[in-house]
């Protein structure tokens, strides 16, 4: 009896397995396109991409676009394990500094797959590696200093006509704000490896000019260069003058927005122009108050700066096709569906942010039209450096950028010479 018991169990399990097997033949023509996207917490972007998905589904009956929404770190962890295993989605969210995906061959070249007529050439350029294009640039942004117009007025300071203070004036402004009990810069690095480096990064760009700035972050210019040291000394003066909040090290990105425009209020918030993603949502969802006196100023001009009209412009959210995808054509059509001029217009009008999609928007309407007009005003005469430091650094240098330039140095934990030495040791290749 026992002898047969095992055999009967095996047969029973096999029978159950057969009964539970999915019936694949019935819906063989149906295709599900899988998309993994970051920015789950930004409603306007979620709506934008979901609309593109629904549009594609309408145009292709039988196609289902399934977008899985992630926060950035879980997305990175998922991609880093799924792609090497030959798995992963058909379409994936990517950013230009994720170069390892290109180098590893996990992204499909898009040159002959998507419609490039709808994409700004300069934005496409960001995604070009060895003559091939690997990503559709969706989000573009510039680094700006957002400020509270009322607080600036309260301090008795007037913004220069070109909206750019000198470095001495900026230091003076920080001191005045601190003396008046106002936090000068509502910045925090609690959950991001870059916000603390806005001031020092933009100051270095203006001081060094575009070429030397690129050399600095690619290990071809020493951090001990006197111009770099000068910038670090100026930033140290800002830090010592109390530029940043006391909870700088733990203040998270979302909290820094709230700190700036709601409580306890701060004079300035240096940020990519994707500031709007968090600020221009209803107040009960953490957005800025309706009557908030928002202004935009340029980063300060450096004494003897090689390019004081320079500014960082970068591509953020982009999408790529998994090289292992079985639905590359369809995936390309989804990328196209997100990149039509109409969608570009929608991006600007609902997300209030620049884009790499060609969109014919000359006049802005809606509740934030004045903001967008001012943002465009700040772009006049600008010489753009495309890409931020994090797009250029790798490995130990990237980690040191996060720990030193982004965090410990602006957090007041390091003197200039030590910060310079640590960055040089990690980044300078001699």
């Amino acid at each position: 009896m026992n002898r047969w018991f095992g055999l009967r169990c095996i047969l029973a399990v096999a029978l159950l397995a057969v009964m539970a097997a999915p019936r694949t033949a019935a819906n063989a023509e149906d295709v599900t396109l899988t998309v993994w996207s970051h920015e789950a917490d930004e409603d306007a972007k979620v709506a934008f991409r979901e609309l593109a998905a629904r549009n594609l589904e309408k145009a292709h009956p039988g196609v289902t676009v399934k977008i899985t929404w992630f926060e950035k770190n879980p997305l990175l962890a998922a991609l880093k394990t799924a792609l090497p295993a030959g798995q992963g989605p058909d379409v994936l969210y990517v950013e230009p500094d994720w170069t390892e995906y290109v180098e590893a061959g996990y992204l499909e070249p898009l040159d002959n797959l998507v419609n490039w007529n709808n994409i700004e050439p300069w934005a496409r350029q960001v995604w070009m590696h060895n003559g091939k294009t690997y990503g559709i640039p969706q989000e573009a942004y510039t680094n700006e200093i957002y400020y509270n117009k009322d607080l600036l007025k309260k301090l008795g300071v007037e913004l220069p006509a070109n909206a750019q203070f000198t470095q001495a004036q900026f230091l003076d402004l920080v001191k005045k704000a601190r003396a008046a009990g106002i936090t000068p810069i509502a910045q925090g690095v609690g959950d991001r490896p870059f916000p603390g480096a806005y001031i020092v990064g933009e100051a270095l760009l203006r001081k060094l000019g575009k070429d030397d700035y690129r050399k600095l972050w690619t290990g071809k210019l020493s951090f001990e260069d006197p111009r770099v040291v000068e910038v670090f000394k100026w930033v140290k003066e800002l830090v010592d003058a109390g530029a940043y909040p006391k909870n700088f090290m733990t203040l998270k990105l979302g909290e820094s927005h709230y700190y700036f425009y709601t409580r306890p209020l701060a004079l300035m918030l240096p940020m990519g122009s994707w500031y709007t993603g968090r600020a221009f949502v209803p107040e009960d969802k953490g957005g800025q108050p309706k009557d908030f006196p928002l202004g935009i100023m340029q980063f300060p001009a450096m004494d003897g700066g090689a390019c004081n009209q320079c500014k960082t412009s970068a591509i953020g959210a982009s999408f790529a096709i998994n090289a292992a995808s079985k639905h590359k054509e369809l995936a390309a059509q989804f990328l196209d569906a997100m990149s039509t001029p109409e969608m570009g217009k929608m991006w600007i009008e609902t997300i209030y942010l620049q884009t790499g999609i060609k969109a014919d928007v000359k006049q802005f309407s809606g509740p934030h039209a004045a903001y967008f007009t001012e943002l465009m005003e700040r772009q006049k005469g600008t010489d753009y450096f495309i890409g931020g430091p994090r797009d250029l650094v790798q490995g130990q240098c990237k980690d040191s950028f996060a720990q030193v330039t982004n965090s410990a140095f602006p957090g007041g934990l390091l003197p200039v010479d030590q910060a310079v030495k640590m960055m040089n040791a990690a980044c300078y290749k001699g």
Binding site: K80, N247, S407, L413
Partner: protein, 309 residues
């Protein structure tokens, strides 16, 4: 021995013994899962540790180069080792002996003991994510409870950026960790205390033995196996600490809370590379160190004279 059982007894034993096919059927799922999710990853990690994995998964055998770089030039690794060692030693001692203390308070039927038991055990039920977020708020410089309390009691001079200062960050995370796990150890000790033979404790009371003497000469010696087990388990857990650190500080500021586990994760997933060789070398080295410490601890704490009661 079996000869004495007789043929009827032997038949009964045989009847209870499952056929090989049955055994295989029932063991196979667990063994497959174990092999797939434990044995294979371990073997693969050892294999990867002597490779450099390039684009497209190309592997190059590099021998012990990863280990050599790790031991000779990687200052972050050594910083992480130091932090992990400090965290492990201090938090283990605080966890285990703190838990014992709380258990003794409850065992002695302190006022409000049932309520205290719930309060002290509740943190154990909370996930690291929740605990981490709560404590990041508690430690916030401006609006955090820790500094608010200090200000309220006139000790404003001691307010700190608890997680933002390299001198206090690791200790702050440690305090959170201890807060979370004290209750667990307390419950284990409490169960062990209630399992102690009443006649021994009763005899001690008849001999007019005071509380302190009873604790030192009777209770703690009899709890020794529990203490040893908790020490070893706690030690292993803390050598691999990741979640809380990752949520609260991400290893910063200035690597002051970097642990070996957070460093492995960073090297594997945060360095613009798919090379799992180097992080695997870190993991292998750490595995060997943990194993050595466990063997050492078990030998040192092994009880030679078995208690009899």
């Amino acid at each position: 021995m079996l000869q004495g059982i007789g043929s009827r007894g032997r038949r009964e034993i045989d009847a209870r013994r499952a056929a090989p096919a049955t055994l295989t059927l029932f063991l196979a799922p667990a063994l497959l899962l174990y092999a797939g999710f434990t044995i294979y990853p371990v073997i693969r990690t050892f294999y990867n540790s002597v490779q450099t994995i390039g684009p497209q998964g190309q592997q190059h055998f590099v021998g012990f180069a990863n280990f050599s770089a790790l031991l000779q030039t990687d200052f972050v690794f050594w910083k992480a080792v130091g932090n992990t060692a400090l965290f492990t030693i201090v938090a283990t001692i605080a966890d285990v002996f703190g838990g014992l203390l709380l258990a003794l308070v409850l065992f002695a039927r302190a006022p409000l003991a049932p309520l205290l038991r719930i309060v002290w055990f509740t943190p154990v039920l909370m996930s690291y994510v929740v605990v981490g977020i709560i404590w990041v708020w508690i430690y916030d410089y401006d609006w955090g409870l820790a500094n608010q309390v200090l200000r309220a009691i006139g000790l404003g001079a001691f307010e700190q950026s608890w997680l933002g200062d390299p001198h206090t960050a690791l200790w702050s995370v440690m305090a959170t960790h201890v807060w979370k796990w004290l209750g667990f150890n307390m419950i284990i000790f409490l169960a062990a205390l209630y399992a102690l033979p009443g006649e021994v404790l009763g005899a001690a009371e008849l001999d007019n033995c005071g509380w302190a003497a009873k604790l030192v000469y009777i209770i703690i010696p009899m709890l020794r196996p529990t203490v040893v087990n908790l020490l070893v388990l706690s030690f292993i857990g803390k050598m691999m600490v990741f979640d809380l650190i990752w949520i609260m500080t991400g290893g910063g500021p200035l690597w002051s809370t970097e642990t070996v586990s957070t460093y492995v994760y960073k090297r594997a997933f945060d360095w613009n590379t798919f090379d799992l060789g180097y992080p695997s070398a870190v993991a292998v080295l750490w595995f060997i160190i943990i194993l050595a410490f466990i063997v050492l601890m078990t030998r040192l704490l092994r009880q030679h004279d078995r208690l009899e009661f």
